[in-house]
């Protein structure tokens, strides 16, 4: 089982991928997921984070089966 991780817009270009999978058997802070998947890249301060399509703070926890998304500030409208 795993956490599905998604990246959007300019962030997708800078990490070079749209999706990742993070294997875990216990809840993890989103920052730890980021570090595990992007060890070379510091998590941008302005980054927005969503778990299961709801906004969460940078210290939120994710668990098996969750969809975690990282993206830059939104610019719709």
């Amino acid at each position: 089982m795993s956490i599905k991780v998604r990246y959007f817009a300019s962030l997708k270009e800078s990490v070079g991928r749209g999706e990742d999978e993070c294997h875990t058997t216990f809840p993890m802070p989103v920052q730890a997921v980021w570090q595990q998947l992007n060890p070379e890249l510091a998590m941008p301060e302005t980054l927005l984070i969503a778990v299961n399509m709801n906004y969460v703070k940078h210290d939120a926890m994710v668990e098996d089966g969750d969809e975690l998304a990282f993206f830059p500030p939104v610019t719709g409208g």
Binding site: R6, F8, A9, P73, V74, G76
Partner: protein, 152 residues
């Protein structure tokens, strides 16, 4: 309530007319229709822009828009609401976004449409990538400040 993401050019006035025609149960109940239409400019930050690609997060976009409209309905007396937003390739002067709300009185219509629009700009997961006249592509990095900031 209706929320739509649209890959093609749409006519906001036709959409309002069609949607309002479906609100037969509200005929005579609304005294105000608040409408905001946002269109694509051919300039941004001092540069000429020829087109734009609107990326979005399928599923989350609809979910956030739904929550924003529900929040507006809790805060103001709205009878119905319609939100349409373009996705994919957009060219000036295409319409990018339509927000329409129906209420008994104008105050609710003015305030709720402004609120929905400002929340959409700060919370709905859309991202604009512009193509400039020079052929260069760039991501728009930040939207204008939201409702709370502007009203101060």
């Amino acid at each position: 309530m209706q929320i739509k993401l649209c890959e093609q050019v749409f006519n906001p006035w036709q959409e309002i007319e069609q949607y309002q025609a479906s609100l037969t149960h509200l005929a005579g109940k609304y005294g105000a229709t608040g409408v905001f239409v946002g269109s694509m400019r051919d300039f941004n930050q001092g540069d000429d822009v020829t087109s734009m690609y609107l990326e979005h997060y399928p599923g989350m976009t609809e979910k956030q828009l739904q929550q924003i409209v529900e929040q507006a309905q809790l805060q103001w007396s709205l009878l119905d609401s319609l939100v349409i937003h373009r996705i994919g390739e957009v060219n000036p002067p295409d319409v990018l976004v339509l927000v329409a709300v129906w209420s008994a009185h104008r105050g609710d219509a003015f305030d709720a449409s402004r609120y929905i629009m400002e929340q959409l700009k700060s919370r709905a997961p859309f991202w604009k990538k512009e193509t400039l006249v020079s052929g260069q592509h760039r991501w728009v990095e930040k939207n204008t400040t939201g409702y709370q900031q502007e009203s101060r």
